[in-house]
């Protein structure tokens, strides 16, 4: 098992980047401070100065830096996205993560040496799609949407020369990434175009006689009784009524943890594992990075006997926003 297996960690800012590098990340992914990336949140991401410093810090320690430019530009804002590509290239990032074919075409023609990754927002779930991006834009890696089973991931890996990166830990989208306009429908802000889902500016928490209510642009997403913890009103994680039953109609508020699948993921030839959470704190990034570093190292030493240590799982559970952990689509309890 000598193929590289990279740990790709999130950084919403310079402190998180340094923590990830120090904690043992092989790669850190970041974004610019605007809607050119899918974590366009207030106070998050990098300006030029912090990015330069972050890249220098990472490169001195042989860690790669990726920039996500994974929203879809339109003709009236197109120059901002191409400028972001140019800037990423000029800063010497190790790869840019793109979703829009037009922008990939631009990047491939303008900066042929720049390594391109296909973002999860590109919604490529099969090898034919991934090979399309390879042939047209010479992408080197694809991040798979969080909808495939392990067997399906393996089938993709076997049928493409493109490196495959999968999500290993963190928040979970139940919808195919890049194919979800629920937030756009409710709030006018979408991951595809504005780089955010269920944006904070649309959120309201209201204490009412029937409990704490959470709303998104006025739409009731959930209501919490005494003793229930009022979670953030991410649209698909609310409780709704369908055919006279009230329940988590789309998705339980759970987070992904695939630590126990590590030997399988390595065996089937996955090239990199991605940790979700650029919006999370440096402390979160540090803890997750350390645990995954230790787990990957242990698994590489002796994959046949790899068992997630109880301490690792406890540490990860602690930072999962009080949510239960799931293996997501990789094994399909709901199938």
């Amino acid at each position: 098992m000598n193929a590289p297996f990279e740990l790709v960690c999130p950084a919403g800012g310079l402190p998180a980047l340094k923590t990830a590098v120090d904690g043992g990340a092989n790669c850190v992914y970041t974004g610019f401070r605007d809607d050119t990336n899918a974590r366009n949140f207030t106070g998050l991401n990098f300006d030029d100065k912090s990015l330069k410093e972050g890249i220098a810090y990472a490169h001195q320690r042989s860690v790669k830096v990726f920039i996500a430019l994974n929203t879809y530009p339109q003709d009236n804002n197109w120059p901002r996205w191409t400028a972001a590509v140019d800037k990423a290239a000029a800063f010497g990032v190790d790869a840019i993560i793109l979703a829009d074919p037009g922008l990939m075409d631009y990047a491939h023609r303008t900066h042929p040496q720049l390594r391109l990754h296909l973002s999860v927002q590109g919604s490529a779930t099969n090898y034919e799609a991934i090979n399309f991006y390879r042939e047209r834009f010479n992408i080197q890696r694809a991040v798979l949407p969080r909808v495939l089973s392990l067997a399906q991931v393996e089938h993709v890996v076997k049928n493409t020369p493109v490196e495959i990166e999968v999500f290993g830990f963190g928040g979970l989208c139940v919808m195919v990434e890049g194919r979800c306009a629920l937030s756009a429908y409710a709030t006018g802000t979408s991951p595809n175009c504005q780089g955010a889902c269920s944006p904070g500016k649309a959120v309201r928490y209201e204490e009412t006689p029937t409990g704490m209510e959470t709303r998104l642009n006025g739409i009731l997403i959930d209501r919490f009784g005494p003793g229930e913890r009022a979670g953030y009103p991410t649209l698909c994680k609310g409780r709704f009524e369908v055919d006279d039953e009230t329940y988590y109609a789309i998705e339980e508020p759970a987070s992904l943890n695939t630590l126990e699948l590590l030997p399988e993921l390595m065996k089937i030839g996955v090239a990199a594992i991605k940790i979700e959470g650029r919006q999370r704190s440096p402390a979160y990034v540090g803890q997750v990075t350390k645990v995954w570093r230790a787990a990957i190292d242990a698994c590489r030493r002796d994959p046949a006997h790899f068992v997630p240590q109880a301490a690792w799982m406890a540490e990860l559970n602690k930072i999962s926003e009080g949510q239960s952990a799931t293996l997501g689509a990789y094994n399909r309890p709901w199938k």
Partner: protein, 292 residues
């Protein structure tokens, strides 16, 4: 500007589906999209049935496009897509609507012309140009986008490429590997009992205040409100839109199509009533109803 009948997004019994398209064969429609465009498990209509309906409609002088699934997960999904492409290759009256990039790759390789479907995320002219180079002769605007985005693309539309816009129906908003209709009835997806067949217009999801919000349609999530760009038709004509897509619904399709045809011709017509929205066109939250 011509009318396009979008693919049937709901799961109707086989006979009902056949009857529906027999009825649609009588309608003046620019294009009819056919095929299972939501869930690969649905089987009331087999691939051969769809191809047969396509042939019958083509014989009746209709332009027909076969829609591919937007979410391809397995080799058997890929095989189904290839069979649709084969059908369109063998009968040149048929085309394919590609709904994910895997289909685009194969269509380009085979040199087959195709329609770039609404899930291909065409948001700018450069992407459309690429798809046109791959063989796209028409593109369908992603439902979440509006008039400013359209204007940008129309300003540099490649020669020979038509523009189609979704103007009527519950909006297809999201796709998942999971089935939310099965989830409601505590069924696993692999043993879903095909419960979505009981809901010819989908299953309404309401907030805990009882407000209709979304529509569950198997692995697809739609709006509860009906997208409706009737008053915007003159603006669409001015923007150079070639086709407007009406999404099949359980009731009153002939009346609806008739009303749209009249409105295109500039004749007054009463639309069937509904809980309408049009926000996306105005770059607003999609569920809003903006008065132009």
């Amino acid at each position: 500007m011509k009318l396009a009948l979008g693919p049937l997004l709901y799961y109707w019994p086989r006979q009902r589906t056949m009857d529906f398209y027999a009825e649609m064969a009588e309608q003046a429609l620019g294009v009819i999209y056919l095929g299972e465009a939501v869930c690969s498990r649905r089987h009331e209509m087999r691939l051969d049935d769809w191809i047969e309906v396509a042939t019958v409609l083509a014989d009746a002088g209709k332009e027909v496009a076969l829609s591919t699934l937007p979410l391809i997960e397995s080799e058997s999904d890929l095989k189904a897509v290839r069979r649709l492409m084969d059908a369109a290759r063998d009968d040149t009256r048929l085309t394919v609507e590609a709904n994910e990039m895997g289909a685009v790759r194969q269509l380009a390789e085979r040199g087959q012309r195709f329609v770039a479907g609404p899930t291909l995320n065409v948001f700018n002219g450069r992407t459309l140009k690429l798809l046109a180079d791959c063989g796209a002769t028409r593109w369908v605007m992603p439902p979440e986008s509006g008039r400013a985005m359209l204007a940008g693309i129309q300003a540099e539309i490649p020669t020979g490429v038509e523009t189609e816009i979704f103007v009527h129906g519950r909006l297809p908003l999201a796709y998942s590997a999971r089935c939310f209709t099965a989830r409601r009835y505590r069924l696993q997806k692999d043993s879903c009992e095909f419960r979505c067949i009981e809901f010819p217009d989908g299953l309404t999801l309401k907030t805990r205040e009882g407000a209709a919000f979304l529509t569950l349609n198997g692995i697809q999530t739609q709006s509860a409100k009906v997208y409706h760009l009737e008053r915007e038709l003159p603006e669409l004509v001015a923007a150079g839109v070639d086709l407007i897509r009406i999404s099949p619904q359980a009731d009153a399709m002939p009346a609806l199509l008739d009303a749209y045809r009249k409105r295109i011709a500039g004749v007054a017509a009463s639309m069937p009533a509904g809980d309408f929205c049009n926000g996306f066109w105005y770059e607003r939250p999609g569920l809003e109803l903006v008065t132009p």
